[in-house]
């Protein structure tokens, strides 16, 4: 027993020195970077997946004289609901990452202050329908589409499906895996795609047939894509994913993609930015409102738009942006998609999810 005392003491000393020596968050703050040239810090609230190259952020801070603080809050749904709950005392000045399935809830609650920046060409089509108060500015978009592992179908000598109508046919029994609409955002987008396509009366019937045809429902996109999709070593060659996914399934020998998206199954997801009413420091801070506007402008700038595909795996709204080579070659996008009106999504979401849950639980 006596022998161990020095070890214990050493451990305590190590722990103390770890804490004292900046190995803790309390000890090692970010070097007082909160004070910039004119002393204005703008807080950008974003969802979990927000990411931009450090250099871009540093360049923006240098040219604008602002300090940008980035705070991340859960996924798009959790982010929206947290903004609604904190609308009287927002946690930031500007938000990025509200998408078109959650947008109207926050707009209706009066979370945003109006701002209508000069939109780059191509961005008008992604403006939020019914947003007459200029609450939100589109920044990027992506489509949720059914992806097919063409290499698997070729190997098995089978014909891949040509449309999502085919997925209920016996030829495709037990081949589809989808992320749940109640637990994932691409899952909800796919549900909305079927509602837009088959209508309020037909979508339940479609899902009933889909379930009867052996569709597998898993929790999230990563479960579907990484565990069940044949490309990742799973057993199912049809999966709900994104229109950009084929850019990531390139065969090293042929330099061609081995998967493709069913373009008639897509649902467009748009991500918006908006000013938070009141801002972090409360009313009357004209300086932080001006700074927040600069952040929105920056998100629309050619530099940030060009960084979106590699940093966040989404398409920029600015149609002039040059895409990475693999994206340009293999990420085929639908020319148009059937959408559900965002206001209707907000009103019906709970009902639809409950009905969907009943169908897939049978």
């Amino acid at each position: 027993m006596r022998m161990r005392a020095p070890i214990t003491t050493a451990a305590i000393l190590t722990a103390l020195s770890l804490t004292a020596g900046g190995c803790s968050l309390a000890g090692g703050d970010d070097g007082g970077s909160d004070t910039s040239a004119d002393g204005t810090t703008i807080t950008l609230v974003a969802h979990e997946s927000f990411e931009l190259p450090k250099k871009l952020v540093a360049d923006f801070e240098e040219s604008s004289g602002l300090t940008l603080r980035i705070e991340k809050l859960g996924d798009a749904g959790a982010l929206t609901n947290q903004l609604v709950l904190t609308k009287d005392k927002p946690v930031g000045d500007v938000v990025f990452g509200i998408d078109n399935t959650f947008a109207t809830r926050a707009v209706d609650e009066g979370v945003f202050a109006p701002y209508a920046p000069q939109l780059p060409p191509g961005a008008e089509r992604d403006e939020l329908p019914g947003d007459t108060d200029d609450a939100l500015t589109p920044i990027d978009s992506g489509n949720v589409c059914v992806n097919v592992d063409d290499a698997w179908f070729a190997k098995e000598g089978l014909t891949p499906p040509a449309s999502i109508d085919d997925l209920t046919k016996p030829a495709y029994k037990d081949l589809l895996v989808v992320p749940g609409a109640s637990t994932s955002s691409p899952g909800l987008a796919f549900l909305l795609a079927t509602i837009a396509r088959y209508g309020e009366s037909g979508w339940q019937d479609y899902w009933t047939k889909l379930t009867a045809n052996g569709a597998k429902v898993v929790k999230g996109w990563s479960d579907a894509y990484y565990t069940d999709f044949t490309f990742s070593g799973g057993q199912r060659p049809i999966v709900v994913s994104y229109d950009s996914s084929p850019a990531f399934t390139i065969d090293e020998a042929t330099k061609k993609t081995t998967t493709s998206a069913l373009l008639d199954s897509c649902y467009r997801q748009v991500e918006y930015a908006g000013l938070l009413k009141g801002g972090k420091d409360g009313e009357g801070s004209a300086r932080s409102e001006a700074g927040a506007k600069e952040v929105v402008d920056w998100l629309l700038s050619p530099e940030v738009q060009a960084a979106l595909p590699t940093s966040m795996y989404v398409f920029p709204v600015d149609e002039r942006t040059e895409l990475p080579a693999d994206w340009a070659a293999f990420a085929k996008r639908p020319t148009s998609t059937k959408q559900v009106d965002p206001a209707e999504v907000t009103a019906q979401r709970q009902t639809w999810i409950e009905q969907w849950n009943e169908i897939i639980s049978r």
């Binding site: 722990a15 979990e48 991340k72 709950l85 005392k89 946690v91 990563s222 057993q235 990531f248 590699t310």
Partner: protein, 552 residues
Amino acid sequence: MIDRAVATRHLGTAASVLVALVPLVIVAVFFVLPVGAMLQRGLWPEGRFAPGAVLDVLARPRTGRVLWFTLWTSTVGTALSLALGLPAAYVLHRLRFPGRAVLRAVVLVPFVLPTVVVGLAVRELLGEGGLLGGLGLDGTPAAILIGLVFFNVAVVVRTVGVAWEGLDRRPAEAAAALGATPAQVLRTVTLPALRPAIVAAASVVFLFCATAFGVVLVLGGVRYSSVETEIYLLTADLLDLPAAAALSIVQLAAVAVLLAGVARLRRGPDPTVRRLPAAPACPTRRDLPAIGVTALALVGLALPIAALVAGSLRRDGGWSLAHYRALGGDAGGLLPGPVTDALTASVRTAVDATWMSLLLGGLVALTVTRRVRTRRARRVRAGLDALFMLPLGVSAVTLGFGFLIALDSGPLDLRTSPLLVPIAQALVALPLVVRTLVPVLGGIDDRQRQAAASLGAGPLRAWTTVDLAAVRRPLLAAAGFAFAVSLGEFGATSFIARPAEPTLPVVIYRLLGRPGVDNEGTAMAAAVLLAAVTALVVLAVERLRVPGTGAW
């Protein structure tokens, strides 16, 4: 002389009130206030008390299904964890064989792994293409049970094993000498003596099962919903706060009842603190069944981890270290910096969470083990004890959202403070720390303190030479566990606003959220790295050989 004694006693009372006050205030601010704020939004929508909505929710058929599902999976999960954990506790803590310390640490690893990783690993195994894919368990309640047991066997092994290790052997030997068969000895002597530890383990496992979030979400697909995942869906997705409040109240009430019941069962002398650690015995033929079950449990725990390690080493159908080399990069612009930076961020957060939970847990343990004379004081003490266990029974999403709406003004506007994450993690680790320290502090014979006092030691001196000496190593062990829990914590962390620097579990989650084989491989490599670091911490704790560690 008498005056001075009275004065000292008053001073002592004042000091102990102060000691109790600090954790009380902290739990009030960082737990009661946020959770209360969320419940208030549910019960008083638009400022008026409207319990009707809450009652409506309880009448929904879906709510009934959710409650029933939670109840039965938790019960079966607890039973299975005990069935596998009790023999393993005996083998790993009572028998002597090479590699015992490593195995004990291995058993603990699943408990501190992030659920994203566990979900990935278990599905790798049970999925349609996995090693056990033929059983068709993926997406069924059986998969959820496997996940729950995978997590919780550690709790049983730890809690019961440590008690078993310190059990006085003489009663069992006496019974055997008087002609009792081994089965009789087990039934009439050993099990009754272990009852407090078994009850403690079972209750904590039940709590963990009933409040499991990630496991149910990842392994249950979407067909099955527990109270915890339902609260998440209602709050984070649907913003149906009355419904979420209704379920939270049910959950809190159930947890309170459970804790009260456990406290009753545990009353009376706890034999595990009168420790007479005996040398572990060599395995004999009679131990074969227990060894068999233990081997089964170990294989069950090792398989998913092995699948994970294998996955991290495979690329393009061959073996490669490429994914580990990728840990030095930023995943092609997806992350703000190298994955190794995230490990640093994790460690820094864990250091903070550790000292916070130790400080809090230490004060709580001092309070609830204080000798009190009156019945009322005893009640207050029991109430405090239960209060500090309650964070176990509250959903992470409720706490995270509650932070945002409750801590929003004046000096309490900590919503975007970098310290909020370690504070939340410290709350998660608090029950663990308290349960590690309480048995040791409670087991100190008061006569030792009296002897010190009569030899002329002041209260402080008596405390350092008696209490601190006994509690030093358990404190280190608790620090190790708090550190490990914080490293792997994801639930609460993901609902708190935080600055750009992500922790390792967050990075793993993010890598898994994007297409690309390399992202998945890097995520697996990062998960292996996290598991390895965690295992090392646990192994270091194990080397301290702390008596009474982990009696949760």
